[in-house]
Symmetry: C2
Subunit: 879 residues, 2 copies
């Protein structure tokens, strides 16, 4: 049952011994833990869900889980192992080397601090160094010291050792009012302007009620409302104790009062303003962001559907597909593979051609411009929303705390100073090993799928079953996409682990930099994983195939894949569609719903109780014990990552799949509800962290929307037939219409030019002897001086494609910058509000000034030597 | 002598009557003027140049200009007209309509304020409405009221009416200590964190010296050091009075103490840290920016010179120019103009070809990538420097003040409410009129120069003088570039006026938006003006010329210009060189040094005194009178504009002129000195404005460096021969060398295909009959099916050019983004410093907390009812 609750949540393996700072300066870790507790205790109080109960003081027992006295509320819980001798023996071998390390570190820190309290235990340590139960002793010693420190800071503790859950002890912590007040005092140092105005208002109106009884709720409330916690994470002290195994978990409790409403957690969490009260700003921002994103997807989905419908409506008027389907155009195509395949009639590609038109029409170009601007609008919209939330949540003056060093980093530094050895070679080695490995694996996967397709297709062609043959294309496409999907999902998990391993190798200095580096690595790996088959289909498939008689071969005799006549766009669509639908369905349903259910089931099986017994047992459990059974909160990174990959699908290849925003929208509507349910019922209540913005995710989104512009430009100009059509219509068409376009795109091949051994085995398959077959490429005709050379049309169209890319990219970038510039980052009403508050402050100052003048005039001769007054000294008297 | 001193300085025509806010709330304008005065009085005090004098209190008369008593220092001066009856009559007609307007406005404001003090004069106004000297009366009434208000706020005034300078009255203002203290008090509301720490330190150490005598300088110093003025501009009150003509000018005085050191103003101003003390942060930032820019130009200039030298060194190994110069390659070129010109030998273009190589070699490509990254580095470097300055100058907590409405805007709103009429049609009309006009003028200018060149060339060709003929090219290029330069300089002034007029039409709401809009408009116009000839040369010249036998004609029979064989790059270079050198020489020497000297001379002539008399007269003048003779400070916009156009020259077309950074560097070294001298000796001391950044200029610079990437990509791929050479070498060259490149770029023309009447009049000019002549283009050969059509090579090279643009743009953008991401915006040491200060604050809080606890324990029973203490109430006692 040993579970680690870690701020970021990427269960980062066994943690080495930390706590060096804690030993050196015993006040600090307590303070940090205490800050967390403080935050919870009054967050809950101001949770709108709680405000139903009007009289807070009287509702002691109903307020939530309390101490045994039924009065003091449990604000925070630490859990630890209750010693079982047999388990110690198993563990000691694993911890043996750490022990030596720790004692070394301890002696170092003792040297530094010059004989601080912890040093008094050193002789004892030296004496018991090789006893097997030393580790547990050390643990308990640390526990005692830590708990003493907590009590010293003013917190109240209660122990609950293994009554119902064997082997687990609970340390319940309560933060009394006076401690909270002192904390509030401390926090006032960083009060933002808005708060200061409140303070002024209070001071100006203070003379009207000069003495208020210290325990009147509204006054408390006032005091608490005026203050905010700013410590973003619990650091060194408690994290290293957790990592050390001294405590196994640390979590605040879920609010019992909302659990009856558990059937509507979505509604509650959708109103992210209250969500923030319960979970803190960081998770609040996630839901706000998800809300804005989902909201913004609605217009995109609508326009996408319209574009798709436009494609459907015009498919019958599309001259190129009409020409392909027209049986009178009796065009014989060259075989698609060596020997096994034979010549084929172009009109058999009729279906694909018609389907391609759905996604490859002029409306798509409009739509990809639209989506590029949409992405910019979304970013701008989010910036404004974030600013508004910052204002509402009072974060305008809040600055991110400087992060504390990670325990691992300190240990590394320690090791370095002891061993005089640099860690960087290991890191570099890790890099050198892993990134080529990753690239290799990704390419291998893509290549494997290509090979699969080629070989399956050849095999199917060779089979004599006519039904199998007619379904060749569909079968190959479908199975390949599904295989890709499965590989993507499996590799996703693998890459997640690789990224974590790589980041651990780097030993980042702080938790924040650890998180950022991990996110960047995971993003790069997962992104490459999800998009490499799509990129292959969009930009590489059918490009380097060579031409009949001079095909490009890979690994022996495998010919590179060709595209169907209407381009690879159709296959790209299928791949995108299956990836999006499949990935989201599997990840949402299987991973997020299914697996937790299965785990629960297994746990239930293990405990040898039937469901009724289990129910009864659950009823007897207290809140802190119930929460212990929930999974640890694993951070927001997986949620964000999933969404950002989706954002990539929606923006990057939107030119080839206008329905992507619709799919994303449908998924997100489910996703918000699932996430909300998960956070409320399936994981322990997360540490409420403060955050002003969504951090590195914003940069990633911004980068994606920039990359999207160029990717879409290339999809339109190179993957779709948009440019060749335009060029044909305006440069080559005899009557300015699209008639003759299909013929124009096909080059001639004389079957006598086949390389030996590559000619089809069944040349009479179509029922007549073929002299000249056609293939899709722009090459010189048979009767030119240089047959099979790339033709002038090829270069002209290539130039037009490239020109389109330049124009598209720069026009869209310019428009995006314009939209960016047009929409102010701070909403008008918020900036007005801030301005008003400034004016208010000036007026308040004026009044203050007048009052002071009066006071000075009155007392100028009475007390020439007044005691020094302190700016912050008026609040404690009210506590 | 009536001169307007205006914050921005674009002498914006006659100002309409303002002051409505002043009348409604008579305290406010005084406060604002007073803020300015306050800032000066202690800026001067802390000017490091002043710190030589140790005892400030004793140095009363030496401290600078004082009141008649020789004690109170003159902090600020207002000037006004002393009434001369004849001049009033002249003016009244001009002001007649304003008067009516003002009375209307006054009645409105009276209605609003419901009978505030100003309303008492209304009956009088009604009675005297048509008296001609009403205007002067009104002025004097306002003066009196304003001065009364100033005295009420606590300022001390002294009048000095026209003793030495007839017709001008001076109002000298002194801000006494107690007023400054109160202001300091007011400003403390916005103290940044750093200051608050100082406060804490002071409080902690305070018990050691509980009572300090209020006038001890170090204490004063402490108080003043801890506070800062934050009002950025003097607003409504004084500006509208100035605009109204109630006062003619308002300025702080130059510091007499630095005037003896006038010979070294550069050195003083180069150390911009002290410059900021004297001029304020806004001008300090300008010099800092100019310093960073000039500093960054050094590496760019060095690399540029190396690139140029590389070109010089390799010119003899350049195969294409060797081929052109080789007399054995006897290539006959087609005539460059109709009828008058004849066939010519390619080897006559030898010089141009060799010269072109200096600027058109592979090193140029490297250099333009380098310069794109350089621009990014510069922006990053400046961001960091700005951040550092913000920290050093203590602006980290400073927020830009919300700007007050401009007088003109208020009047427009007034008129609208009176006339119920929208102003926007006028604005729209202004836009519709002016921008096409501007574009028209720019195009007309460019086109005019083109026509000039074409006609001059034809004329020279027709002349029989052989020397004239041989110098044709050089003459045409040189004169055309000079004409362009002259036109650019003239139009620069015109466009400045147009931009101001357009901005006035728009009636921006605040001074800040006025400034921004004016800057944007001026920038667009001046930029288009400076760069349109260059853009024409780089991208349009020689593109749409047609081909022999099918030339493109404009306006009757003028053929479009062709480029010399080696591309237009050479002419682009000459144009850039002349524009940069000429513009800077003329603007620096003529405008910035010459014209002020001439003005002085004229003024001296007018005053009918010889130089000795003038000298004597000057000696008798006091500081405030001397300063009155100096020109008003016209803002930083012209200085920034000049630099930003230069930045454009340095980055935009750097691919064609690697010496541009060197020229810019040389210019800037002079520029900094000239600007410094100007600000210290030639204009009145500017209003010290606070600023955190260089505002809109940063955005313009950023925009320019983005545009530079794409412009350079196009210059390299389309203007230079870089891509055709590469393509020839790798696709067409038989032996992989450049041999045969010249031949490859030339197409064939059969002279029998000339359009009737366009064949040369002297076909035998070269001494032999020409059957086939050559021209520079990629077209089908004479013996192909479609002669004169664009050839496959053309399209292939075009595709390569475009591909290069895409690759170049995206690679450079990616690298720029990477550099941007790599360099942190906040320098490491600054962020460490800020972090340290935070830790210090926490520790201070802890100590404070302990002290408080002790205090509480001691006094808990003695005084249960303590008087409320105010956070800000301890400072006044020290004043």
């Amino acid at each position: 049952h040993s579970s680690f609750s870690i701020p970021l949540g990427q269960g980062w393996g066994p943690r080495l011994a930390g706590g060096s700072r804690w030993e050196g300066n015993s006040d600090l870790p307590c303070l940090y833990l205490f800050v967390c507790i403080f935050r919870y205790s009054f967050r809950c109080m101001f949770c709108p869900l709680n405000s139903l109960k009007s009289d807070e003081a009287a509702s002691g027992p109903k307020q939530g889980p309390t101490f045994q006295d039924g009065q003091r509320r449990v604000d925070y819980v630490l859990t630890y192992h209750v010693q079982k001798p047999q388990s110690v023996r198993r563990k000691t071998s694993r911890f043996a080397d750490y022990r030596i390390l720790r004692s070394l570190r301890r002696s170092l820190s003792t040297m530094r601090s010059g004989g601080t309290p912890p040093s008094k235990e050193d002789p004892e340590i030296a004496a018991h160094k090789h006893r097997l139960d030393y580790h547990e002793d050390d643990k308990r010693f640390r526990q005692t010291e830590f708990e003493d420190n907590l009590r010293e800071v003013g917190l109240e503790l209660e122990k609950d050792e293994g009554n119902k859950i064997p082997g687990i002890g609970f340390l319940k912590i309560h933060a009394p009012w006076n401690v909270l007040c002192r904390e509030a005092e401390f926090m006032k140092l960083k009060m933002p302007t808005k708060k200061r105005i409140n303070l002024f208002i209070h001071k100006v109106t203070a003379p009207l009620h000069p003495k208020v009884e210290p325990n009147r709720p509204q006054n408390k409330y006032f005091l608490l409302k005026r203050t905010r916690c700013t410590k973003a994470k619990y650091t060194m002290g408690i994290t290293s104790l957790l990592g050390n195994g001294v405590y196994t978990a640390a979590y605040p409790l879920h609010d019992v009062s909302i659990l009856p409403h558990i059937s509507i957690p979505m509604r509650m969490l959708l109103s992210f303003l209250s969500c923030r009260k319960y979970f803190g700003e960081k998770i609040g921002l996630y839901f706000a962001w998800l809300g804005v994103y989902t909201q913004m997807l609605i217009p995109a989905a609508i326009v996408g559907v319209i574009v798709f419908l436009y494609g459907c409506a015009t498919v019958d008027n599309d001259i190129p597909s009409m020409e392909i389907c027209d049986p009178r155009n009796n065009i014989t195509m060259c075989p698609l593979c060596d020997r096994a395949c034979s010549y084929w009639k172009l009109k058999t590609a009729c279906g694909t051609a018609r389907a391609s038109h759905l996604f490859d029409n002029p409306a798509t170009v409009f739509f990809s411009i639209f989506m590029a601007l949409w992405a910019t609008m979304f970013m701008e919209h989010w910036k404004r929303r974030q600013m508004r939330l910052n204002y509402i949540w009072d974060l305008t003056g809040f600055e991110e705390e400087e992060d504390h060093h990670r325990a691992e980093y300190e240990i590394q530094v320690m090791q370095k100073t002891l061993k005089k050895q640099d860690m960087s070679p290991k890191v570099v080695k890790g890099f050198l090993l892993s990134f080529p490995l990753q690239i290799g694996v990704t390419f291998a996967v893509v290549f494997g799928v290509i090979l699969y397709r080629i070989s399956i297709r050849a095999a199917l062609h060779m089979s004599s079953n006519p039904t199998a043959r007619s379904n060749i294309r569909a079968t190959v496409k479908g199975t390949a996409a599904v295989i890709n999907l499965v590989i993507i999902i499996i590799m996703d998990e693998v890459y997640g682990a690789v990224a974590r391993w790589l980041t651990l190798l780097e030993v980042p200095k702080t938790d924040k930099s650890f998180e950022e580096r991990l996110i960047i690595k995971t993003f790069v790996l997962k992104f490459a994983n999800a998009f490499s088959p799509i990129v292959y289909l969009a930009f590489f498939r059918g490009r380097m195939v060579g031409r009949p008689g001079d095909y490009v071969y890979v690994i022996g005799s495998y010919r590179m894949e060709e595209c169907a006549h209407a381009g690879c766009l159709m296959e790209l669509c299928i791949q995108l569609c299956i990836t999006m639908l499949g990935k989201q369905l599997i990840q949402n349903n299987l991973f997020e719903i299914g697996i937790p259910k299965i785990k629960k089931l297994i746990r239930r099986r293990k405990s040898d109780m039937d469901s009724q017994q289990q129910e009864d047992y659950n009823m007897t459990l207290e809140r802190h014990e119930k929460d212990h059974f929930l999974g640890p909160f694993v951070g927001l990174s997986p949620e964000y990552m999933e969404m950002i990959i989706q954002f990539g699908m929606v923006t990057l290849f939107v030119a080839s799949f206008p329905l992507a925003p619709l799919f994303a929208l449908l998924n997100n509507i489910i996703e918000i509800r699932l996430d909300a349910k998960k956070f409320v019922t399936e994981v322990r209540r997360p540490i409420a962290a403060r955050a002003k913005d969504i951090g590195i995710w914003y940069n990633l989104l911004r980068g994606l929307s920039k990359v999207a512009v160029i990717v879409n430009a290339f999809v339109i100009s190179f993957t779709s037939d948009f440019i060749p059509r335009l060029v044909y219509q305006y440069m080559y068409s005899p009557d300015g219409s699209m008639h003759g376009f299909v013929n124009h795109t096909l080059s001639y091949f004389n079957v006598s030019d086949f390389q030996p051994g590559t000619a089809p085995l069944q040349p009479m398959h179509l029922g007549y002897e073929v002299q000249i077959c056609r293939y899709k490429d722009y090459r010189e005709t048979l009767w030119s001086n240089t047959p099979y050379d790339l033709s002038k049309e090829f270069w002209a169209i290539l130039a037009c494609r490239l020109a389109f890319v330049i124009v598209f990219q720069n026009v869209v970038m310019l428009m995006s910058d314009f939209v960016d510039w047009l929409i102010p980052d701070i909403p008008k009403d918020i900036s007005l509000q801030i301005h008003k508050e400034k004016i208010l402050m000036v007026e308040l100052f004026m009044k203050e000034e007048e009052g002071k003048k009066l006071l000075r005039d009155n007392h100028t001769n009475q007390s020439p030597f007044q005691p020094r007054s302190r700016p912050a000294s008026h609040t404690p008297s009210k506590c």
